[in-house]
Symmetry: C2
Subunit: 340 residues, 2 copies
DNA sequence: CTGTTAGCGCATTCAC
DNA sequence: GTGAATGCGCTAACAG
């Protein structure tokens, strides 16, 4: 249907293609009369400009790339929602690049480092290497990192050290001393960093209170409730068992709750558990946790990218926004048992 | 960097652009010698073809549109995973269109009905109108519906009538008679149909057993655990209360479990609950439910679309694939209490 | 095997 | 105000 081209419209309206183009981009210098005739022709032919042709001519792609670790992170949906909310009315197409391996990440980052690919790039939770950053900079394609950081690239992120610190301090203030830090693998192929940062915060809080760091109190488990459950069972079998667990993500925290329930370990009386992220389930389960603004972070990242796109040409200094985290004290944390 | 054009390569390799184009699309008729020279030039210039220009020239967009109700359906992630898995290696860009209002749906469907927009369209859980279907057909742009159905458009879906039937039959066979059907709003703005279909299955099972249909046993609640929880509280306050609830989605079923627990109604002794979807949480909570292949459905939909794209030109008859559903009997359903 | 050329559909100088 | 002409970067006949 819409096979009509700008030329057809021009012919029908008895004007030149240039004029049609002008009314299309409502250029001021077109007489009302001609404009009307063109509009009529457009409507009659059910014409709409060919996006690809426009893009080639304009030298823009009208496209934004969003790079996400779609399946590894459960929190991505919330972030993506925030992103989508902003971009939906921006006129940009949102193309999704899912990376689930380092190789794919490298490939995407390499191919995206061109204005010919996308006008801007939004990267969720995947830290680019220095080399990647260089390429992005050289290609002069605006990039915003969400939940990731690189000094040379704009970003929106949270202070994970602070988050880990808050969670641990909370437990310490309740009298806990044998606090386990349970996290997803600290060294993962995608070099997802927050888990390490949270560990730093954990250690910082411990150090502040003069509690010696016990390496056996740092345990890693694969992502997912299941893995955390098994890890927790092992933990609770220790003698003496920990009195508190700081899980680096809510999913893990829930796995810990599972194990505790199954073993008859009462929470929070015998075991305190604090999670991280504040996913919807956390509120429901009354899980004490560190709240991080998932939706917000996506939204702000997208907005920042649009801003960078506005100020085209001016490759200004990167803008970094750090959003606050907050400890939510719910029902899974309480004073440490006294029979230590 | 990659500002080099095909002309630059041609110049450097001392050949014509046509030849460069040939090696790019590894056309056979190029002498090994020339090919090597061109390849060298390409590498030296760090050249890569401009996607937009290619598309304009080829008359293809190399793009697939995926239309999703991103935020209303919790199951979309699983489906999208399936889609992504297939498309990631297809060479197509995957652009995401999120619709959360009828208006947006209409807008997207209208603008997508052109080959100029996308080479193919994948629609998740949003039934197009007859008018939409006509437009897609007229534009000759391949469309695959996932979890939705239209006679003229290819689709991958499940038999929701059967699902509703299975769930209800299961309850009936356990001796239940006062069975409530709890569902998301039957008439929703996006005209999402499965809830009605499941109701049909429910009624069919009832009818088969000669159990009179009681309109007060059909209750609607907004999406989400919370709303279901409130609805369930009201239900359990009835005298006599229902002995079983068939929730049209697992999230609702979980809300029912919440209410039962809070009111001290034991499940499954005093109340049987069966859900629908078999989301990850369902397995964990030991929820009896109707399993539907979320990931599979997305995967197959994407594969079907690619197939349609292969057989370009031939606008064959629509292909419909109906995937089986299955009742998973877990711990939330049991024989009806005898003290009726 | 390789080069020349004509589009693809639109935006945009530059004249008039 | 409007039109003719040029270019965006690449592919695909058509010649040679």
């Amino acid at each position: 249907m819409s096979k009509a081209t700008i030329r057809d419209v021009a012919r029908k309206a008895e004007v030149s293609v240039a004029t049609v183009s002008r009314v299309l981009n409502n250029h001021p210098s077109v007489s009302p009369f001609t404009r009307q005739r063109v509009m009529d022709a457009i409507r009659e032919l059910n014409y709409s400009p060919h996006p690809i042709a426009q893009r080639l001519s304009l030298g823009r792609t009208e496209t934004l790339a969003v790079v996400v670790p779609l399946f590894t992170l459960p929190s991505f949906v919330e972030r993506l929602r925030g992103v989508q909310k902003v971009l939906s009315h921006s006129g940009y197409d949102l193309v999704l690049f899912n990376v689930d391996s380092p190789h794919q990440r490298d490939e995407y980052f390499a191919t995206l480092a061109t204005r010919a690919r996308a006008d801007g790039i939004l990267v969720l939770s995947i830290p680019p290497s220095d080399e990647d950053a260089e390429r992005f900079l050289a290609a002069e394609v605006p990039v915003v990192l969400v939940d990731a950081y690189h000094p040379q690239l704009s970003s929106v992120y949270i202070d994970d050290v602070e988050g880990g610190y808050l969670a641990t301090r909370h437990l310490i203030s309740l009298g806990h001393r044998r606090i386990v830090y349970l996290s997803e693998p600290l060294n993962n192929p995608l070099e997802f960093g927050p888990m390490k940062k949270r560990l730093q915060g954990y250690r910082k809080a411990l150090a502040e209170e003069g509690i010696p760091f016990d390496p056996t109190c740092v345990v890693e488990a694969e992502p997912g409730r299941e893995a955390a459950y098994h890890a927790a069972r092992a933990l609770l079998a220790r003698r003496p068992p920990p009195t508190a667990v700081f899980a680096a993500c809510d999913t893990h925290a829930i796995g810990v709750l599972d194990a505790a329930r199954e073993l008859g370990v009462r929470v929070p009386e015998a075991l305190s558990v604090v999670g991280y992220d504040d996913i919807p389930d956390a509120a429901y389960l009354n899980l004490s946790t560190v709240h991080q603004p998932l939706f917000e972070t996506g939204r702000l990242g997208a907005e920042l990218l649009l801003t960078l796109l506005q100020g085209n040409g001016g490759k200004s200094a990167p803008i970094h926004r750090r959003l606050p985290v907050e400890l939510i004290h719910r029902a899974t944390t309480a004073f440490a048992p006294t029979d230590v």
